[in-house]
Symmetry: D2
Subunit: 350 residues, 4 copies
C-alpha cells in the first residue's frame, strides 16, 4: 500500500512532478550481472516521446536518462539502480486559472480532497509525465527478462471506434500509433484530424502480449498473475478497463466454447489469455485495456472553483488528443515490471 | 507479493483446502472497538451458500464460522481476528481420474507446473471453496466501514447474454441470482435449465457498487483505488475482466461526452465510476466484472494426462453451472477489504 | 509494519490469546516438498513446555498442535500451512483485580494506552503464551532449512549473574535450563530456589548459534542479517538487549584485535559472529540476548488503577520465576524464521 | 525484505555508491503540509560531516543536498520527496589492490560471496558514505515528528573504554564527539591521538534518547517498538549490539529491582527504557548501541586474495579512526525514521 513503489522482489520506486527539477526512480532487487546502460533505457524512453503518431503533440521533450547508481562496468551490481530524467521544457506559464479551478475528468478535485495541497503546475504528480519513470523501470525489467526469453509488446487495437487488424504486430513498434495494421494508419490519422477539428479527444484499446513466459508464474489466491496485471495496467492513468484472454466476451460464452482443449502439442486455443487459475500456462499472455479520451478538451466545460462556485473552463495548450499511442510503452513497461517480480519470486520454489 | 495475504493496513491472510480439516483466515489491523460476532460473519457466509438461484447446486455446506481470537466482549480488541470454517461435506470419493488428468479451463495443469505437487482433492487450494475465507474477512471489513457510512453491494447485471435492468438494486440481496430486476429472474431460470440440459455452463457480468466513500481514498500513482479494485476483483477465480465507470465504453467516447461536469451540487454524471486520477471523488464507486463460464462441463473434452498423453474427460458431479450468483458476495467482500485498507491508510494524512 | 506477520518470503502470521479458544498461525511461502507432520512441530512445542528446569512452573499445558492446511501426503504443497493449538488449561479465575490495576513491568498500562480496550485474561495477546505460535512456525522453518544443512540451537549462558561454561552445547537441548554446562545445573537450581524464597525473579543471557549458513545471506543496507536477527530476537517479550559476535565487548576493543584475519583455510577468529557488512560469511552465526527478570513477583509493588489512583499489587499464582529456559526454543524459532526468509530471498540472485 | 527501503508508512528508499555520480533517496508517505527545505535537511547532513572531533578525518565532503520532488512552496505535498547528494571528492585512485584482496573486518568477502560482482571503489554500497541518505531521510522524519513534540538526540557514552558522564546531553550536539560531558573531551582527544599513533582504531557506545513519544506506539507481537529500533540501529554499519533501558544489566537484576513502580505522577524509574511489552509508555525512550572499531587499520593484517591465496594488507589513506562521532547523526536518523513510521501507523486506531 505505497503510492509510489511497485513490486515486491523487483521493486520500482518513482518520484517527480512535471514541473520540478525532474523525475526518476530507484529499482531495488535487480539481480547482479544484468547488462545495462543509459542507452538501453533511453531506447524505451524514446518510444514514449511525442511524435509516434499525429495524436501526439509536437512538444519537445528530450527526456534524457541518467543512471545514478547500481551499474558498474556495464552490468547491474545487485544494489539499487537509481535514474533521473531532468525536466527541460518548463516554460514559464500562468497557472492562476488551473490553480483555482478543477478541470473535469482530471485529478484536480480528488487530489485537493486527498492532500489539501496541490502542485498544480502541469498536473503535478498526477501528470502523465510521471510515466517516464515507469518506462525507464520497465526497460530494466526488460533487460532482466530477456535473459529468460520473455518479451512484451503493446500495440493499438482500436482508436475511437476504428479497429485495426492484428496483421503485423511485429512491425507495430516502428509504425505510427504502434499500429499492428499498416492499412489502418491513414484512417486513424484522418480520425485524429477530424476530432481535433471539433476540439475533442479520443480513447481506444491497447493489446499487450507477453511471449516466452514459462508455465508456473503467479500465485493461486490473491496474487494471481492476472490480478497483478490488472493492478499494473489499471494503475496507468486513463485506463478504465482491463481484460485477459477472451475477457468480457467470456461472460457470454459457454464452458464448452470457452475452455481451451489440451493436446500433447499444447493448448488448442487461448481463450484463457495464457493464465489459468492465476498461474501462467506457458501460452502467450494476452491483455487488453480500455483507454479513456484525454479530458483536456478545447471546448468549454462546466466546473467549479476551489471555493465551490460554478464556472466554466476551456483547456487549451499543447495537449495530445489521445493517450494512445504514448500510453503503449507505459503499458508494456508495467507488464514487464509485473513479470520480473513473479519471475524472481518463482525462483523461491526452485 | 504473497499468495495468501490481502491488504496492507487491514490485512487478511487465508488458508485451507476444500478437502482438509477446514478453511479460515486471520485479519490483522482491524482497529479496536468494532462490533463483531460470529453471527455478523455468518450472515455474509450464508449469502455465499448454494441455493441463491438455480445456477447453484443443492450441495449441503453449513459453513459455520468460529472466531478464534481478537474479539472480547463483543468488540474487536485491535489484535488479530482469526476464524475457522470446518469442512463438513467430505464424501469419500475416487480422485484417481482427476489426480492424473488435467481438466481443461481449470488450474490443474498450471498448479502442477508451479508446485510440482498438488492436492487434487476437489481442486485443493484453487477450489472456489477458498472464497469462504474472503467472505468472512469481508464481513469484518464491512463492520468497520459501516461506522464510516460506507456500504458495498454486488448484483448480477448479465447471465449469459441476458441482461437485467438495474430496477431494484436494494432488493437484489434477497432475490435469486442477486438480480437487481425482479422480472429477469424467470428468464435466467429458464436459461439455466436450458444450458444445463445441454451439459454446458454460463458466464455473466456482476456490478459492484460502493456508496458513502469519502473523497480522497486511493493513491495517485501505482496504488490508485481503481488499480487496487482491479487487483482485488481480478484475483477472484473465474473473473476475466474488470472495468470502472464507463469502462470499455470509454474507449469509444469523446472527451466532451466522457468527462463528468462539476457543479456546485456535485458531479453532473458518473462516467468516472467515482474515481478520478486513482482517488475517490465522493461519488458512488461503480465496477463491473466479466465472469467466465464454469469450466466443469458434463460434455466430453479433449485433454492430456500428467504424463502428457492425449485423453478425454467428462466432469460430472455436483457442480454449479455458473459462478454467478455465488461469486457476488465474494466480489462484495473483496471490494470491502480494499476500501477498509484505503480508509485506514488515509487516516495517516489526518 | 504488521503486528502479527513475520517475514517476507517465508511469512508467519500468528493469532490468539491465552484465554480464548486457542492460538495458532499461518505460514505462507514455504516451498512445496518439505517433509512435515504434526509430530515434527510437536517436538519443538514440547521443548517450550514447563518443566525444562525448576525455573518453570508445573502448570499443565499439553499444547497439542493440529495442522489445518498446506500439508498433503506428508509434505508441504506450497500453499499456506495453518496450525492451531487449543487452549486447555483455562481455570475459571477472578480477573477483577488485574482488569483494573496495571501490573508493573507488564504491558497492561501500554496496551490500554494503545488500544483503549484489553483482554486482561492472562495477559491476552501480550502473554508469553503467544510464543507457542512462533515455536510452531520455527519448526516448519527448521524442516525447510535442514534440507540446506542449516541448524540452530539456543542455550543458557547466564542465569542471574551465574555464568555457564559452553562445555557441551550439543547436550544442552536435553538438559535442564538448556544448560551447555552440566556442572552449572545444580548451582542454577539453588539460585532459583533461593530467589523464589525471596518472592523474587531472575533474568539471564541466552546464546543462539546457527551453523551451516552459507556465505551471502543478508542485504547490505537496511536488511542486514544482524539487523533482522536483532529485530527477531528483540521482538520476543522480556528481551532487553541483543548482541552479535563480540557484541558490546567490541566497543572496547581495537581494530587490530577485533578484526578477524582471513586465511586460505577460513577466518582465524569469529569476533564478527559470522556476519560482515550485514551479510553472512559462512562462519557460525553467534547472537546473545539479555532476558529481563519476569515482572510477576509475589512481593508487594506500587502501582495505579486504570482510573489513576495509587494502589499496590501482589502478583501471586502459577508463574515461572524466569523466562529462561522456556524462552530458549522461542529464540531458536525466531532465528530459524529469519534465516528461512533470507535463504529463500537469496535464491533470487541464483 | 528489501535491501534498500526502510519503513512501511513512512518509507525511505536509498541508493548510491561512494564513487558514482552520487547518493540519495526517496521518502514516500510523508503527509502533506510538513515544513521542509534543503536547509532543514542540510543542517542534519552537516552534523555528519568530518570534523566533529579528532576521530574524524579532515577529508572534504560538502555533501550538498538537492530536493528533487515532493516539496512545493516550502511544504511537503504528500507525494514522494526525492533528494540527491552528488559525490564530489572522487580522487582518481588505484583500486587494483582492494579490488583483488579482501580487507579483514570489511564486507569485501561477503559482498563478493553474495553478488559475485562488486563495485570495489571506496567500499561501493557498503561504504559508510551510504549513510548520508539515512541522515537526509531522518531530517524529514524529524520535521514531521516535531509537529507532535517528539525529539531525538544521540550522544557518545563511551569511546574505547573511557566513559562519559551524562552531564549535559543538551550541549552534546555542539560539542566534539557529541560528548554529553564537557570534561571528557580532552581525555577522548588524547585517547584518539594515542590510538592513531599505534596505527589502530577505536570503538565505543552511543546512547540515543527520544522524548515526547506518546504512550501507545509499537505493536504487541513482532513489531514491538524496541524490536524495530533494534532493527533500525543494528542496520547501521559497525553496530554489534543494541540494548533498551537497563539492557544487558537487566539480565542480572531481580524483578523487584528491575520493575518500574507506577505512581499517579508517572513511572518512578525507567529501567524499561520507555517501552513495555513492545509499546511506548510515554517515558523517555533510551537505547544504547555498541560500535565496533573501524576495521581499516594502518597495521599489517593477514588476509587472502579473491582467488584464495594468502597475503597481507595494510589499509592506509584518509580514514576515520572511529565510527564515533560520525555515526551519531545516523543513529539519530534511524530512530526518527522508526518513530515516524509508528506515529503514522498509530493514527489508524484513531
Amino acid at each position: 500500500m505505497s503510492a509510489n513503489t511497485f513490486g515486491t522482489l523487483f521493486r520500482l520506486t518513482t518520484y517527480g512532478e512535471s514541473h520540478g527539477p525532474g523525475l526518476g526512480g530507484v529499482i531495488d532487487g535487480c539481480p547482479p550481472g544484468v547488462e545495462l546502460s543509459e542507452e538501453i533505457i533511453q531506447r524505451e524512453l524514446d518510444r514514449r516521446k511525442p511524435g509516434q503518431g499525429s495524436a501526439s503533440t509536437a512538444r519537445k521533450e528530450s527526456d534524457t536518462v541518467r543512471i545514478l547508481s547500481g551499474v558498474f562496468e556495464g552490468r547491474s551490481t545487485g544494489t539499487p539502480i537509481a535514474f533521473h530524467i531532468a525536466n527541460e521544457d518548463q516554460r514559464s506559464r500562468d497557472y492562476s486559472t488551473i490553480s483555482e479551478v478543477y478541470r473535469p475528468g482530471h485529478a484536480d478535485f480528488t487530489f485537493d480532497a486527498k492532500f489539501g495541497v496541490r502542485d498544480y503546475r502541469g498536473g503535478g504528480r498526477s501528470s502523465g509525465r510521471e510515466t517516464v519513470s515507469r518506462v525507464a523501470g520497465g526497460a530494466v525489467a526488460q533487460a532482466l527478462l530477456a535473459r529468460a526469453g520473455i518479451a512484451v509488446t503493446a500495440y493499438t487495437l482500436e482508436l475511437g471506434s476504428v479497429r485495426a487488424q492484428i496483421a503485423d504486430p511485429q512491425g507495430a513498434q516502428d509504425r505510427p500509433f504502434f499500429a499492428p495494421d499498416p492499412d489502418i494508419v491513414p484512417r486513424w490519422e484522418e480520425l485524429v484530424r477530424e476530432t481535433k477539428g471539433r476540439g475533442d479527444t479520443l480513447g481506444g484499446i491497447v493489446e499487450i502480449v507477453a511471449t516466452g513466459v514459462p508455465a508456473g508464474l503467479g500465485e493461486p489466491v490473491f496474487d494471481k498473475l492476472d490480478a497483478r496485471l490488472a493492478y499494473a495496467l489499471m494503475g496507468v492513468g486513463a485506463v478504465k478497463g482491463v481484460e485477459i484472454g477472451s475477457g468480457f466476451a467470456a461472460a457470454q460464452a459457454n464452458g464448452s466454447t470457452n475452455n481451451d482443449p489440451i493436446t500433447p502439442q499444447g493448448f488448442a486455443s487461448n481463450n484463457a489469455g495464457g493464465i489459468l487459475g492465476g498461474i501462467s500456462s506457458g501460452q502467450t499472455i494476452v491483455a487488453r485495456v480500455a483507454v479513456k479520451p484525454i479530458p483536456s478538451i478545447s471546448r468549454e466545460q462546466q466546473t467549479i472553483t476551489r471555493s465551490g462556485e460554478a464556472t466554466t473552463i476551456t483547456v487549451g495548450g499543447r495537449h495530445d488528443i489521445a493517450a494512445i499511442p504514448r500510453i503503449n510503452p507505459v503499458l508494456k513497461a508495467m507488464t514487464l515490471l509485473t513479470l520480473a517480480d513473479f519471475w524472481l519470486l518463482q525462483k523461491r520454489n526452485a
